[in-house]
């Protein structure tokens, strides 16, 4: 049993899933790679053609499997390669945050990071801010009792 909140108060390397849109965000990740910009190895990325592909189910699945944080890395809404994917992602984000609250998971563990094309520096800055937030959450006794089980 992996207990999410066991990690919360201890010093740990958070396991973070990043859903990445194939266009601006993925290109940013690639450029970070080419320029060898370092980021924590606890971040695992899953590529999608567009963030519009995501629904609440897939986001919750990640939390169910024990992710400490889920990032949605996508293009700014006005620069979606498929025009309306970014807007849909924002809708899904809002819905998912609501459900997270119900489940007793800090909704800050889910974030949408929109990166303009060619700004890998901005991408990494936002990602590292997110990782820091996940790595050192504020102690919260009520949430500490919440347990999320993984099937393994």
């Amino acid at each position: 049993m992996t207990k999410l909140d066991e990690y919360i108060t201890t010093d740990f390397e958070p396991r973070i899933v990043g859903f990445v849109c194939n266009w601006s965000a993925y290109s940013g990740v690639e450029m970070a790679g080419i320029n060898k910009m370092e980021y924590p190895a606890g971040i695992n990325l899953i590529r999608l053609m567009c963030l519009g592909r995501l629904n609440i189910g897939l986001i919750l699945k990640a939390f169910e499997l024990g992710a400490d944080g889920v990032m949605l890395l996508g293009c700014p809404p006005d620069d979606c390669h498929y025009e309306c994917g970014g807007a849909k992602a924002q809708e899904v984000l809002a819905q998912a945050k609501g459900v997270l609250n119900l489940l007793g998971i800090d909704q800050n563990r889910l974030a949408l990071i929109e990166v303009p094309l060619g700004r890998e520096d901005l991408l990494l800055r936002q990602v590292s801010t997110f990782v820091k937030r996940i790595g050192k959450p504020k102690p919260n006794s009520r949430r500490r009792k919440a347990k999320v089980a993984s099937p393994v």
């Binding site: 290109s27 897939l58 094309l117």
Partner: protein, 1165 residues
């Protein structure tokens, strides 16, 4: 009549033209002057531009061009000559070397890591510093990404070295701590590295560019550091290599004199495969370095080590065997020595020519130093005067001072700065207590009882500089003075002792030295050569060594009967210059060479200069400015396992035969001054690709259309059947793409194989690959787990194919730099990745294997460089996710939709007429509809252009429907059904492409067939109804004149309303795009296209509302039962509908819910 085209200028505009032509089936050669295709229009070479979103979006075009089967890209190339006429050009292209083989290099960056040369960043410019071997562009993906080497020429240090040692090369190697390689580089040119590292006069340092910044690099001391600290094994290896090379026959060369010149020649001859015998008059080899050098400057062991290295090559040295009385040169020749090298050096002292030289206690410096080195008894008095401040003089004085003399005085007739000796050495001598007196000349030596008692001197002054800038000394009368002395050492220069010639003067000039040809060092007698001080006395040791080398070359050629002067020249190579105003070089102190402290020097002969240690040597070597950029240290060549680096590449000539040429207008080539006038070219069949002010690409496509028309016309010998001819010149490359389909059948029991690429160590240095490979060995369905070196090479691919077949694999996961198994090229892609993917995917159908790709380079190794352990764990997870995705994949095959090969042009403005004319003249079935009866235009120039086009159109037999209006468009992508009303009569057309000339809507152009009442499908209407017509502005994948739905093209927007050229170009651009589609005859379906499970669809219509492309709609599957249906031609594969399907009926190939969940599970557990 080759049917091929040439595009000159590989910026985005040139690339666009080439892509249009190639896509339509025409073979294209694309010539680009810079080392990589450029996204920007004017090639400013600035790194900031590349990160602009606009340019990133264009990168897929470059990648597509560089991997297109119909495009041959020649980078670093320029056109030198164009001959011939329209339709038949012969073009010469010169391709500059990039020193890295484009076909072999995998851009693994291994060479870059080893390269010791950091190119100085230019101040005030944003370009970062980089290595001498680098990717063509910095910080971005370039196409091709093949590495290249910046070479500027010969650095000043190497040019200054008489022996031509690659100075910058070995200094660079030392800066990387590569001592053995550095010594190899030195000994490649010269013998005696240890000796030279101590006593060389280092002209290289005088030439060093760094001396203009602060102080020259301490090159000589660095050489010594390399020579002293290399591993003995390295030197043995060198010896063995040479020994295997030497012929074991009788020696053919006799060398007289075992000094630097003689021994160097002997060594070099041995390396060329000739045995030689060296005759030495003195009891030990080495000549001046053995007998003329005091031990505190050159310890015996050091010079002996150098000599041993030479002797070890199997060279026989006969010591105490003077040539002359007992053994003459003719006798040597009789003994079978075919070539003789005279390298006797200069061991005779010049005489002073003043009274008293014969007195006891007057000794010449050579005899003085030689006596010490031969351990012969020498009596030195208490008061020593050395006459002459050259190297031997100072050496003599410093020897004397170590013998506890009371006073040692060095006098010279010149001033301090004019002494030939090294200033450091003078300082050291002064530290040791040697006194100096300058500008004095001896008049006579005063004797008492036959012994020296003193010397009388006279003061001198410097005269005016003469023609050569030399200043002679002039005696000052009345300044005579007497110096007390009991020993006088005369060190006023040496001359060769030529007694061994037995008075024969054929070889000499006035009996002073031997006369040689300066280039070949041959004397008047064939087979006899001379080198070193014997031929040209007074030169430093490095010159003697250099001549020894040259003599060896001459003798080798003499023995082989080759021309001795071939490819040799006395001309000095012009070294490269560094413009120090352009670069900022932070000042760095020259590392002082540590010396033995003064207290420890007196009374002994311990070596004074101590040499650098590793720390100081590297610091000093790093001061090198790398004037020539590439130092030719060959580290990259050693690092490259694929042998892609070729330092000796030369410019290559490429001959092309093309029918048409397109040139970028801003290309700065001299050739174009003769070919181009203003905005047109002198010759027909050569087209200029203009830039549009806002950077749009349709002018490039327009040129492509012109060339397509041109080529088709040229080849249309049979005017009746232009289409046949068209198909003959357009190769059918679509076949290759179709083979790249995905697995069609699902295997019963999956057998997976995992291959992990090391990428030349750039992945393996972070991720523990053997660990990863072992982790997956035999796990679950995995039957094979292997590491490969370069997955993007053909060898690795063949290995993967063979292993996959051998083990009956059904799923293969390749963990390398590729990250998807799709055909599409995103702007995050790279050329190696495209190659890697296309290699493997091309066999997918044949072998029925599913390939999945995982990027462990940019997503793991390169971003977790300092978290090796975590990166290894992450790599395992990523591979696990890829495997899960592969195992969950559904069998599907790559689809393409056949289109109707016919085009409808709506609107008869200039753009529409142009588009229709271009298409029709290529033999494509084309129909033009227009609202009015004929082309009417208020402005005169428009009218004449329009009438001309109309005539052209009608002569081609194109259907032109006047007074016609488009009513609606229906049907599916590729088979649109257009309804047209002409004079109230309804006509139907099935078409693959439709071109809208929107200029008809404006006031200037009254002719339009598009009315407000026209019923267009929502997706088409959406594209047109926008006031700004954004689809001409690089939307929808940056294709000019194209819109998102396939086969719908737009022209006649923006400027076209009042500019003829614009209007015509836009029309041609639309024609080009339509011609590409017509030639292909198919629309490729997006691989991630959505699919419907009809049994689960409940017909809610959510998908229809979310789809932005009108690609999914409800249809009646069976009467009254609605079900979603995907128009695969329109689907872009974003997956939005899949996410919103409430019943799970929709799925997306590659990104199904099951695949994403499986990936999540692999990553998180």
């Amino acid at each position: 009549m080759s049917g091929e085209a040439l595009v000159i200028g590989g910026d985005i505009h040139g690339v666009q033209t080439a892509l249009d032509l190639a896509d339509s089936g025409i073979k294209v050669t694309l010539v680009e002057p810079s080392p990589a295709l450029q996204v920007n229009g004017v090639n400013p070479g600035k790194s900031w531009w590349h990160n602009q979103p606009e340019s990133l979006r264009l990168i897929p075009k470059l990648l597509k061009a560089s991997s297109h089967p119909n495009i041959k890209v020649l980078t670093s190339a320029s056109v030198s000559r164009i001959k011939g006429n329209r339709g038949d050009y012969r073009v010469n292209v010169v391709q500059q070397p990039r020193y890295v083989n484009v076909d072999t290099c995998t851009s693994c960056a291994r060479c870059e890591r080893e390269c010791p040369v950091n190119v100085i960043p230019l101040s005030g410019k944003t370009a970062d510093g980089h290595k001498a071997i680098h990717r063509p562009d910095f910080g971005i993906k370039s196409a091709p990404s093949t590495y290249m080497i910046d070479k500027r020429g010969i650095p000043p240090c190497t040019a200054a070295c008489p022996a031509g040692i690659n100075v910058q090369g070995y200094v660079a190697l030392i800066s990387k701590g590569k001592i053995d390689e550095a010594l190899d580089m030195i000994t490649d040119a010269v013998a005696f590295p240890r000796v030279l590292g101590r006593i060389c006069t280092h002209p290289c340092e005088d030439a060093c560019t760094r001396s203009q910044v602060d102080k020259a690099v301490s090159i000589c001391a660095l050489k010594r550091y390399a020579a002293d600290n290399s591993s003995p094994r390295a030197s043995l290896k060198r010896t063995h290599e040479t020994n295997n090379h030497v012929e074991s026959t009788h020696p053919r060369v006799a060398i007289i004199g075992a000094g630097p010149a003689g021994l160097t020649a002997a060594r070099d001859l041995a390396r060329m495969g000739h045995r030689s015998t060296v005759f030495e008059a003195l009891p030990a080899p080495g000549g001046m370095i053995t007998f003329g050098m005091p031990r505190f400057r050159l310890p015996r062991e050091v010079r002996q080590a150098d000599i041993n290295d030479i002797v070890r090559l199997g060279i026989e040295i006969r010591t105490s065997t003077p040539i002359g009385k007992d053994l003459t040169i003719p006798e040597l020749q009789q003994q079978g020595y075919e070539a003789i090298l005279i390298a006797v050096g200069a061991h005779r002292n010049q005489r002073l020519g003043i009274p008293g030289e014969g007195l006891e206690g007057v000794i010449n410096s050579i005899a003085f130093l030689q006596a010490f080195n031969l351990k012969q008894p020498v009596t030195v008095g208490k008061k020593v005067v050395v006459i002459g401040g050259g190297y031997t003089g100072i050496d003599s004085a410093r020897t004397a001072v170590r013998l506890h003399c009371e006073r040692v005085l060095v006098v010279d007739r010149y001033s301090k700065g004019m002494l030939t000796a090294n200033p450091d050495e003078i300082t050291e001598a002064e530290e040791e207590g040697v006194e100096f007196d300058y500008l004095v000349a001896p008049i006579r030596i005063v004797g008492q009882y036959g012994r020296v008692a003193g010397i009388e001197f006279r003061r001198m002054r410097l005269g005016r500089p003469d023609y050569y800038g030399r200043r002679h000394t002039i005696p000052i009368e009345g300044t005579e003075f007497l110096v007390e002395a009991d020993t006088v050492v005369v060190a006023t220069g040496q001359r060769p002792g030529l007694a061994f010639l037995m008075g024969d003067t054929t070889l000499t000039e006035g009996g002073k030295h031997i006369v040689v040809d300066p280039l070949t060092l041959a004397t008047k007698i064939p087979g006899i050569f001379a080198a070193g001080d014997a031929a040209r006395p007074g030169a430093p040791m490095i010159n003697a060594i250099a001549e020894g080398r040259q003599a060896a070359i001459s003798i080798d050629r003499y023995l082989r009967g080759d021309d001795p002067a071939a490819n040799r020249s006395l001309d000095k190579v012009k070294p490269v210059e560094v413009n120090l105003d352009e670069v900022y070089i932070p000042p760095t102190e020259r590392q002082p060479l540590p010396c033995l402290k003064y207290e420890f020097r007196i009374g002994n002969f311990e070596e004074v200069e101590l040499g650098y240690n590793a720390g100081t040597a590297i610091k000093e070597a790093e001061r090198c400015l790398n004037c020539a950029t590439c130092s030719e240290c060959m580290e990259c060549e050693r690092a490259c396992e694929l042998g892609a680096v070729e330092h000796n590449m030369t410019p290559t000539q490429v001959q092309l035969e093309v029918d048409a040429i397109a040139v970028r207008e801003n290309l700065d080539t001299q050739l174009w001054e003769s070919e181009v006038i203003g905005s047109s070219t002198r010759r027909s069949g050569i087209y200029l690709i203009p830039s549009s002010p806002d950077g749009e690409l349709y002018p490039a496509s327009a040129v492509a259309s012109r060339i397509m028309v041109d080529l088709t016309k040229r080849h249309a010998v049979d005017k009746e059947k232009p289409r046949v001819v068209r198909e003959a010149i357009r190769t059918d490359f679509v076949e290759a793409g179709e083979a790249r389909s995905q697995r069609a059948v699902s295997p019963e029991e999956p057998r997976a194989g995992i291959f992990v690429c090391d990428c030349g160590g750039s992945i393996g240095e972070v991720i523990d690959l053997p660990n990863v490979v072992a982790y997956y060995q035999g796990k679950g369905n995995i039957v094979l787990s292997r590491q490969v070196e370069y997955a993007c090479t053909d060898e690795a691919d063949n290995e993967i194919f063979d292993l996959a077949r051998e083990h009956g694999l059904t799923h293969v996961v390749l963990a390398a730099c590729s990250c998807c198994n799709l055909d599409q090229i995103c702007f995050s892609c790279s050329d190696r990745r495209v190659k890697c993917k296309s290699n493997l995917l091309s066999t997918q159908l044949r072998d029925n294997i599913y390939y999945e790709f995982v990027n462990i380079r940019e997503h793991c190794a390169w971003v977790h460089g300092h978290q090796s352990e975590a990166a290894t764990a992450k790599a395992k997870k990523l591979i696990g996710a890829g495997l899960a995705r592969a195992l969950e994949s559904q069998p599907s095959s790559r689809k393409s939709i056949n289109i109707e090969r016919s085009t409808l042009v709506v609107g008869g403005g200039l753009s529409g007429l142009r588009a229709a004319a271009d298409l029709a003249s290529q033999g494509f079935q084309t129909t033009l509809i227009r609202k009015y009866g004929s082309y009417g235009e208020p402005e005169k120039e428009f009218e004449s252009a329009g009438n001309k086009l109309e005539k052209e159109l009608l002569s081609q037999g194109t259907t032109v429907l006047s007074n016609a209006e488009l009513l609606n468009i229906a049907g599916q992508a590729g088979r649109y059904r257009a309804s047209v009303s002409q004079n109230g009569q309804l006509r139907q057309f099935t078409i693959g492409a439709i071109i809208f000339d929107l200029s008809g809507g404006t006031n200037n152009h009254p002719d339009s067939s598009l009315t407000k009442n026209t019923e267009l499908p929502p997706f088409i209407f959406k594209t047109i109804d926008d006031g700004n017509h954004p689809l001409l502005k690089w939307e929808s994948g940056m294709e000019p004149a194209s819109s998102q739905p396939p086969g719908v093209f737009l022209c006649g927007t923006g400027q076209a309303a009042d500019n003829i050229t614009e209007a015509l170009m836009q029309g041609a651009a639309a024609a080009s795009k339509a011609a590409v589609l017509m030639s292909r005859g198919t629309i490729e379906v997006a691989q991630t296209c959505a699919s419907v499970d009809q049994s689960r669809c409940r017909g809610c219509g959510t998908c229809e509302t979310v789809c932005g492309f009108g690609a999914i709609a409800l249809t009646e599957r069976i009467p009254a039962i609605m079900c979603a249906q995907v128009d695969e031609g329109l689907c872009q594969g974003c997956g939005l509908c899949v996410a919103h399907c409430p019943s799970g009926a929709l799925s997306q190939n590659g990104y199904s819910d099951r695949q994403i969940s499986a990936s999540l599970k692999a990553i998180l557990t």
